[in-house]
Subunit: 227 residues, 2 copies
Amino acid sequence: MVGKRALSRQSLPEIIANDLRERILSGEMAEGEAIRQEALAEEYDVSRMPVREALKRLNAEGLIQWANNRGGSVTKHSLDEIGEIFDLRILIEVDLFRRAIPLMTPAHFAECDAILEQMEESYDRDDVARWGILNHEYHSALYSSVGRSLTKELLDRINVQSERYVRMHLSVMKQREPAKQEHRQLLDCARAGQTEEACALLSAHIERTKDQLLQMVAAKRATGDGA
Amino acid sequence: MVGKRALSRQSLPEIIANDLRERILSGEMAEGEAIRQEALAEEYDVSRMPVREALKRLNAEGLIQWANNRGGSVTKHSLDEIGEIFDLRILIEVDLFRRAIPLMTPAHFAECDAILEQMEESYDRDDVARWGILNHEYHSALYSSVGRSLTKELLDRINVQSERYVRMHLSVMKQREPAKQEHRQLLDCARAGQTEEACALLSAHIERTKDQLLQMVAAKRATGDGA
DNA sequence: TAATAGGTAATTGTATCCAAAATTCACCGC
DNA sequence: GCGGTGAATTTTGGATACAATTACCTATTA
């Protein structure tokens, strides 16, 4: 993301977009839920204008869909599309990882190690929210040795989509041990300079997440809502 | 003032965004050029509101950069970033092509053939504008057998970026014969079911375009760097 | 003479207001 | 009783007016 640390001077659309994004990602705003500008404006106690800009932004991010004069709704992905999102993650993350490994220094490995430790700590406390954040941080840290800012920006956009489903996943995920081990192996392979092995592990890691998650979403949709 | 064309069913921001996008892609708005909302609003004879929405959209597409209260400017990519754009194209297009080839039917091949013929015709007439459009159509046709709508959407966004530079490229490109042959070979391999060979060709094809183009942009920036 | 501070002008961001489009409900006709 | 058409309400889209922030220019002081 663009690093504007002065968040005191954040514009209203920015603030609202961030909050709405969080509400969508957390599932507070359900898939397919209709969005009315005025209701949101009243809720945030601002005019409809900054709300409109925030909605436009989220629309560009793909989190909500907008019809011309017909209002908007929270984007709902089909199972195929959810799978596609994870295939894109595999494609781009593995490419980044392959470029990153030869450039990794002890400092990079140390950073990954530090995050891993915090992750394992959050396992034990069953702090899924923190685990999700750290998971994202860890994956980013794996690629920090390589520049590729445009690619990372693209990946961030895709990750916003995937995060919606990963979060559902985390909250009901039983077996976190495999992921834990995979994260360690990934780093070990990278440290040993075994680029292709590490990439294969990363690919399998995301693939496994995808499979588990698709199963879960499918089950949820079959029982839960009729849509 | 300005002739209001078919704005009937299209929203104003949409129209303005499309026009601005075209102006940026065509080079009419140069890299790094500052953008003032009011000037554009006056030019299009509308208020600043739809202009702002259009600018927001282009910002999300990465064509312009926006600072908080500081105005915006047309995005200027470094040589590395331009290379990155083409690397992303390779990554995504090859993945799409690999998935598409096994699904291609005679109808798909016929469509590609038809576009190829028009392309070769436009070679002879030296119609670079038409060639550019057909080039994009051809690449899309290669992947038409596969669904993957989200991936295609992503690719379209990347292609918008690359098109800025491809257009410069086309207008000064001397040797179009290699591209011509490569396009044929690509299709022949795909028809023969030689998936990996076809993907390798596609990768090399885009890679060659990237190399030529980087050379050209580097030369252009070295001479007239003042802009 | 140069640097800093203050003021002014320009540009962006937000709010309120008005118009246009769409959906829904009711009434009329079949 | 059912279907279609029209009007009214709801909701979005666009314009104008106003506030806030920023940058530039000028003046004053060291």
